[in-house]
């Protein structure tokens, strides 16, 4: 039937459409094909119609995909679209195509014919492959960056807490999110001389490489300063100065504890610089705060810091943590000190158990999606 405009008709539109058309029986046997498809692929009409299945024109890999995914989808869904395949042309060349198909059913609902439109996709396939390569490159870079972050992060904490006679030490750490970004939490436990120990825990504001540099600086400055200076306040003042000299423009919080063995007991003192209080869990389950609040470090030359002594008995434990614990969020609610205190009151068989229990609980509270690093050190007195 002539087109109303007189210069196009349905048959010509079909044969010379700017895409290939194929009709096949429900089992894939080709029953009709247009000139465009024949022109692209080099086949003669007689070679295809009634003789070949559509899947036979595909590369072997594409044929598996066709049989296992494309055809079942088509049979169940009635349509399948934008499937990328390669047609093997008459001369053996490959033609990258995008394929859309619909399955027509008869009045009884039985499959009658599959109509397929084939779009040449040579340029698009090159572009897609470029995208794929870029994606693979990006994934590799990401993996590399994650490895660097994780390796660096490992230097912020000791591989394992040391064994100290008379003390039961537990520590747990969980980096924010998936661990692919470096956070700023750290802790350290080291011996100055026989029976003279320093425990440090801290949190550098922010994340990323810059925060990591400051974290490493802080941990090592504390170690170096603690060897020279007796007083915890002085150690932290030295750290403050080195941060200001470094021009870091990042502040940090630290809790520093000194333990000196005195016979069967320990002389204990704590100094806080902008850091959350320590918590003392007594053997009867009561929990109290430890330490006086002090200035953040890395902001101003003058600091207000206070070192206070602590008195712990066998069975008691001192708990130090970063704000990733109490500020762990679930929606708008915070995990909070109260929740931490009641968990500590419940106790655990050993310090490592208690540290792990806290981190697990905080992570669970945030439904595994931790926004900040979480660090905790538990010192149990035996």
């Amino acid at each position: 039937m002539p087109d109303p405009d007189g210069d196009d008709d349905a048959e010509e539109l079909y044969q010379r459409a700017p895409c290939g058309y194929l009709s096949t029986s429900p089992d894939g046997r080709i029953i009709r094909v247009n000139d465009t498809f024949l022109g692209w692929t080099g086949y003669g009409r007689d070679e295809l119609v009634g003789r070949r299945h559509f899947s036979e024109l595909l590369s072997a890999g594409g044929r598996i995909y066709h049989e296992t995914h494309y055809l079942p989808t088509l049979q169940m869904q009635g349509a399948a679209r934008e499937i990328a395949l390669e047609i093997v042309c008459e001369d053996g060349d490959r033609l990258p195509v995008l394929v859309n198909s619909v399955l027509e059913r008869d009045d009884a609902g039985s499959p009658r014919v599959i109509r397929t439109a084939v779009f040449s996709a040579t340029a698009r396939r090159e572009y897609e492959q470029e995208l794929l390569r870029e994606r693979q490159r990006a994934e590799q870079s990401e993996a590399k960056a994650r490895l660097v972050a994780q390796t660096l992060q490992k230097t912020f904490i000791p591989p394992a807490p040391p064994k100290i006679p008379g003390l039961d030490i537990g520590a747990a750490f969980r980096p924010a999110g998936g661990g692919d970004e470096i956070g700023g939490d750290f802790y350290d436990i080291f011996e100055l001389s026989e029976g003279d120990w320093i425990v440090a825990i801290g949190d550098v504001c922010g994340k990323g490489v810059e925060a990591a540099v400051i974290t490493a600086l802080a941990r090592h400055t504390i170690r170096a300063a603690a060897v020279r200076e007796r007083r915890l306040t002085t150690v932290l003042e030295v750290l403050n100065e080195s941060l200001l000299v470094h021009g870091a423009e990042r502040h940090l919080t630290v809790a520093l504890v000194r333990l000196i063995r005195a016979g069967p007991r320990w002389d204990l003192s704590i100094c806080l610089a902008g850091h959350p209080h320590g918590l003392i869990r007594r053997s009867d389950g009561t929990v109290t705060r430890a330490g006086h609040p002090g200035s953040l470090l890395g902001l101003f030359p003058d600091t207000l810091l206070d070192e206070v002594g602590l008195d712990l008995d066998p069975g008691d434990a001192l708990v130090l943590y970063t704000d990733g614990v109490t500020e762990g969020r679930s929606g708008r609610a915070f995990y909070g000190e109260e929740r931490l205190v009641s968990l500590l009151a419940g106790g655990a068989p050993t310090a490592p158990h208690l540290a792990d229990a806290v981190v697990e609980d905080v992570v669970r509270y945030q439904e595994e999606d931790t926004a900040d690093d979480v660090a905790i050190v538990v010192i149990g007195f035996q």
């Binding site: 429900p26 089992d27 894939g28 046997r29 299945h53 899947s55 036979e56 590369s59 072997a60 890999g61 594409g62 044929r63 598996i64 995909y65 049989e67 296992t68 995914h69 055809l71 079942p72 989808t73 049979q75 169940m76 869904q77 009635g78 349509a79 679209r81 934008e82 499937i83 990328a84 395949l85 390669e86 859309n100 619909v102 396939r125 897609e128 492959q129 995208l131 794929l132």
Partner: protein, 262 residues
């Protein structure tokens, strides 16, 4: 367990269990023309493999680096639901998964039905699987090419079917939903595995359903499977393709039914 593998159940709740396992590239929807036919006498169970359909099971590359992880999933499902005297119906790669499960726990399975099985897809000396090693690499490339489409956030193109709007709507409820990264690994495990030596160890009575023209598992492969297994018989269906349960559901049901009644 039920949610992990999207286990769906119908039929006679205290009847003999019949467990349908889909093959590579699709999900349990594949069985929708066949499974209901057994609901009058059997406890009909369907599930989605990890990474397929609506399965929420976490993908552990090591566990699923061979078919053994998938086999363990089948055994776990049987144990969790306390299934005994199980009729296992596996399509394509799930046939071999069923074979390995039946070797590991022969007491659990009453009968096996393999739809289009192949113990090895790649040709070997004295064995014709139908594919060359290069073909399988090509398949993986083909999956990569489609990976892009699957994972992109582009809204699907709605085809101009004004008279059949349901075609557009169905796009949102895609059958054969597959996690592309897992699909690629599943394809590697499926098409590079070789279970020829396992076939002789399957003592459970088995029906091999073979299509007369199947580009994935040719007739001679079906014959090889039947010949190698101690207690197997083959029914040749006059059907084209790799999915007789979709293209020829009637004869598929008949053949399974006759085998189960025998």
């Amino acid at each position: 367990m039920v949610a992990r593998f999207n286990i769906t159940e119908s039929g006679v709740s205290d009847g003999q269990p019949i467990l349908f396992a889909h093959g590579f590239g699709c999900d349990q929807n594949m069985w929708r023309l066949v499974a209901p036919a057994f609901a009058d006498r059997y406890r009909v169970l369907l599930f989605d493999h990890v990474g397929s359909g609506a399965s929420t099971a976490p993908y552990d590359p090591e566990r699923y680096g061979t078919l053994d992880g998938y086999v363990q999933d089948v055994l776990d499902i049987c144990q969790e639901l306390d299934l005994t005297d199980v009729v296992f119906v596996g399509h394509s790669v799930s046939s071999m998964i069923g074979a390995l499960a039946a070797i590991a726990a022969p007491g659990r399975f009453a009968k096996l039905v393999f739809v289009g099985p192949s113990p090895r897809y790649i040709d070997d000396e004295g064995y014709r699987g139908g594919f060359a090693e290069a073909d399988i690499s090509e398949l993986l490339d083909s999956l990569e090419a489609n990976y892009l489409g699957w994972s992109s956030a582009m809204a699907p193109v709605i085809m101009g079917n004004a008279d059949r709007p349901e075609l557009g709507e169905e796009l949102t409820t895609s059958f054969c939903a597959t996690d592309p990264a897992i699909a690629r690994r599943f394809a590697e495990v499926t098409f590079r595995s070789d279970n020829r030596d396992d076939l002789s160890k399957v003592v459970v009575p088995t029906l091999v359903l073979q299509c007369s023209s199947d580009a994935i598992a040719p007739v001679e492969v079906g014959e090889y499977v039947t010949r190698t297994m101690p207690d197997a018989r083959m029914v040749l269906l006059d059907a084209t393709g790799h999915c007789p349960h979709l293209s020829a559901p009637g004869p598929t049901i008949e053949a399974i039914d006759a085998f189960l009644r025998a």
